[in-house]
Subunit: 221 residues, 2 copies
DNA sequence: GTCTATACTCTGATAGAC
DNA sequence: GTCTATCAGAGTATAGAC
């Protein structure tokens, strides 16, 4: 009695929808294309998900909760600040590599339907502001670092997410082949932690920003 | 004899098209909406610009060249490395504040019509790879800093652009009021340079990443 | 549950009067 | 140059057989 892990139709549709919505966005996506991608008939889409809107909604909720829990899980770990940052970057960059369609999809959705989100947090009893403040509080207690909560967190996010979101742009601008692009993403797993950990050291109170070894006079590094 | 700076129809159309395409992207934009925005008839759009594609092309080229020249101008200045970085952040963050619609529009365009871009660079005789390498070469010569060209430039871009692109998302996640959001953007003009200049110092060869003042044992900051 | 065929709406584009 | 009217195609959604 073999276990055949064949996906049922509903799952096939959802997977296909993710791919197509990711590539084309809501407006650009075509129900026909989703049907083709899932290798089923167009009418079946409407059998399982009444409308395009409805299907999109499902894809969005799935994507957003994946994204949110990936972030929250790491942040909530009971480890030291530096371990937490490293773990965050490791887990999150890998997550983004494997789910590169999610960030742009979420951002776009916020443009089209800005309300949608607030209650998703309340439903899950999450307070992002508090969560973020926890990180920098920990940094102060353990390392005497003075980090601005929001800005530090947004910096983390930016360095992880932007390259993923702007991938098609960067690919074109720098003329990367798909293989080079993959390599670039792989490299970021070491480059981003390096950059951030270097930056953090500058926020020790004993290390004023203006100090420099060089002899340049007015504009110091 | 008063000068009445009334715009001619073609300009009215282009302005209207910018607004609508910037809000909705290519697929989401409707010719009817552009016509309404320009307070003219739909048929006139096709009189001046043969097709939707054609009109979009004009809007895109305008946005992209604005963005590109804002970046290139600063990078090409003949100043020291640190002055260049500071100038870049100052100019670019202000540009983004005043043109916050552009990044989303460009990235979205890359998803919807990935081809469109490569030749725009060739037309303007720009070699992005070379331009970017120039920055880190300068850093090595002037400050003995070993920066990876691509990654450093992408880091710069990320920290500037992502918060702008993800504005609706951040606004919702953190529950910012419009005023708070403005303040946040204003703060980034000091936070981002601080973060980056701190990070850069870590790339001096004499300053190994693993060094730390703290007594924590295995996982060093 | 899955398919074929089709209804209906929206939208980009054109024809032609003025 | 600008308008009204209309076409042709694409796309979502549904009806109904199996």
């Amino acid at each position: 009695m073999k276990k055949v892990p064949e996906k049922n139709t509903q799952e096939k549709i959802l997977d296909a929808a993710k791919k197509v919505f990711h590539r084309k966005g809501f407006e650009g996506a075509r129900m026909q294309e989703i049907a083709d991608e899932a290798a089923i008939n167009k009418a079946l889409l409407h059998y399982y998900y009444r409308s395009k809107d409805n299907l999109f909604q499902s894809v969005f909720e799935d994507a957003f909760s994946k994204m949110a829990s990936a972030i929250i899980e790491v942040i909530s770990r009971e480890v030291s600040f530096d371990e937490k940052i490293k773990a965050f970057l490791d887990v999150y960059l890998t997550f983004l590599q494997e789910n590169s369609y999610i960030p742009w999809f979420i951002i776009n959705c916020m443009y089209e339907k800005p309300e949608q989100l607030g209650e998703m947090f309340r439903k899950q009893h999450i307070n992002p502001k508090q969560l973020v403040k926890g990180i920098t509080d920990q940094a102060r207690q353990e390392y005497n670092l003075e980090l601005n909560p929001m800005h530090f967190f947004v910096n983390l996010l930016s360095l992880c997410v932007f390259p993923v979101v702007a991938k098609p742009l960067l690919k074109e601008v720098f003329g990367f082949s798909p293989a080079e692009m993959d390599r670039f993403e792989e490299e970021r797993k070491t480059e981003v932690p390096l950059f951030i950990l270097n930056a953090i050291k500058g926020f020790e109170p004993g290390r004023p920003v203006k100090k420099t070894k060089k002899t340049r006079s007015t504009n110091e590094l």
